[in-house]
């Protein structure tokens, strides 16, 4: 990799981002990311940047693939840089983008599709159904996760989720979630058979993952975890819960709808290069 250089801390990246925020670079971007969760990636030299006259490009190396983020001045500059960047990539690379109808003047979607192929699309769903906390009886099978659960949670996630579009959390991110966010598990003989993870920011909770071990599916564990989750968040300050679900996953959409989630009409698309 010749053109990208490592950036070593969140504060350094923030300086770069603050700079681009106040110049025309912001015309075209996909910077919908929480960089504060990248602490370990900075420490391990996995965050790289490439600055040009047209843009700030950020590459995040993951396990076997990269995420590409950008903040560009205009479409022509974007195209110019992208040709150089694609030539320099040494791993499959993902770009998350958003349907053009959201901002008509940004034609990024059309251009990226000529270089990247569509890997998957997601719908956003939201729930603000406070009725879910009425008459709820807390379930004593559901426990707060601890660090000892991490290997088993990872094992569950690796079986079920796709590394490219589900962004399976690594060891450090799971530690962060357990320490700071909402992580619940159901154990059976010390074996984690179900796990639910959500993050909370102010009045909004972002539902991240739910998974049940194959052997324990269709026994209602998913529903009791979801009900408990909605009860827990709404009894405090949270007023809405959001999630992203694959557009073609009709059974998951049906499942979330059953729990009061409604389609918001917002979409995101995962594009991939080099696969």
């Amino acid at each position: 990799m010749k053109i990208f250089t490592p950036i070593n801390s969140y504060s350094d990246l923030k300086n770069e981002l603050d700079y681009v925020k106040h110049n025309p670079y912001t015309f075209l971007n996909n910077l919908f990311v929480d960089y504060t969760l990248w602490e370990n990636a900075f420490d391990e030299g996995r965050i790289l940047i490439y600055k040009t006259n047209n843009a700030l490009w950020i590459l995040k190396r993951n396990n076997g693939f990269c995420d590409l983020f950008y903040s560009c001045s205009d479409l022509e500059g974007f195209k110019h840089d992208l040709v150089i960047i694609l030539d320099d990539l040494d791993q499959p690379t993902i770009v998350t983008t958003f349907y053009k109808e959201l901002i008509d003047e940004v034609k990024e979607f059309e251009y990226i599709t000529t270089n990247f192929k569509i890997y998957s699309t997601f719908n956003r769903m939201s729930n603000s159904n406070f009725d879910s906390i009425k008459e709820h009886i807390p379930n004593n099978q559901i426990k707060q996760a601890n660090y000892e659960d991490i290997p088993q949670i990872q094992c569950l996630f690796n079986k079920v989720f796709d590394k490219y579009d589900d962004k399976i959390p690594d060891n450090n991110l799971l530690k962060h979630y357990i320490k700071n966010e909402y992580v619940r598990v159901i154990r059976n003989d010390d074996k984690v058979i179900a796990c639910l993870i959500a993050t909370i920011k102010g009045a909004t909770s972002q539902f991240q993952y739910i998974t049940i071990n194959d052997e324990y599916q269709n026994r209602g564990y998913g529903s009791i975890m979801m009900k408990e989750y909605l009860y827990d968040i709404y009894k405090d300050y949270v007023k809405r819960s959001l999630l992203w679900v694959k557009s073609n996953n009709t059974s998951a959409i049906k499942y979330y709808s059953k729990h009061g989630f409604k389609n918001e009409g917002l979409h995101k698309t995962i594009m991939i290069y080099g696969v």
Partner: protein, 76 residues
């Protein structure tokens, strides 16, 4: 100002936008809601918001939205 509140509550009916200092810090809006908000403001006031103005700082409170609209000739 009422019309802005109405647009915001149409996007996120569960929140009270009138008493909030920073919509993003309070978790009432995120980047995706911002895109919906931009689209609704453009339709309501028949304007086209420049990409350079699409930053959270311009949409994080009623007064910042009002200031942005003023820039596009919309007086509320």
């Amino acid at each position: 100002m009422d019309i802005i509140v109405k647009i915001l509550q149409n996007i996120r009916p569960e929140f009270n936008f009138e008493d909030t200092v920073d919509f993003f810090k309070e978790g009432m809006l995120d980047s995706f809601d911002m895109l919906s908000l931009i689209s609704d403001l453009e339709k309501e006031f028949d304007i086209k918001i420049n990409g350079m103005d699409i930053i959270p700082e311009n949409f994080n409170s009623l007064s910042s939205i009002k200031d942005l609209l003023k820039k596009y000739g919309v007086i509320i």
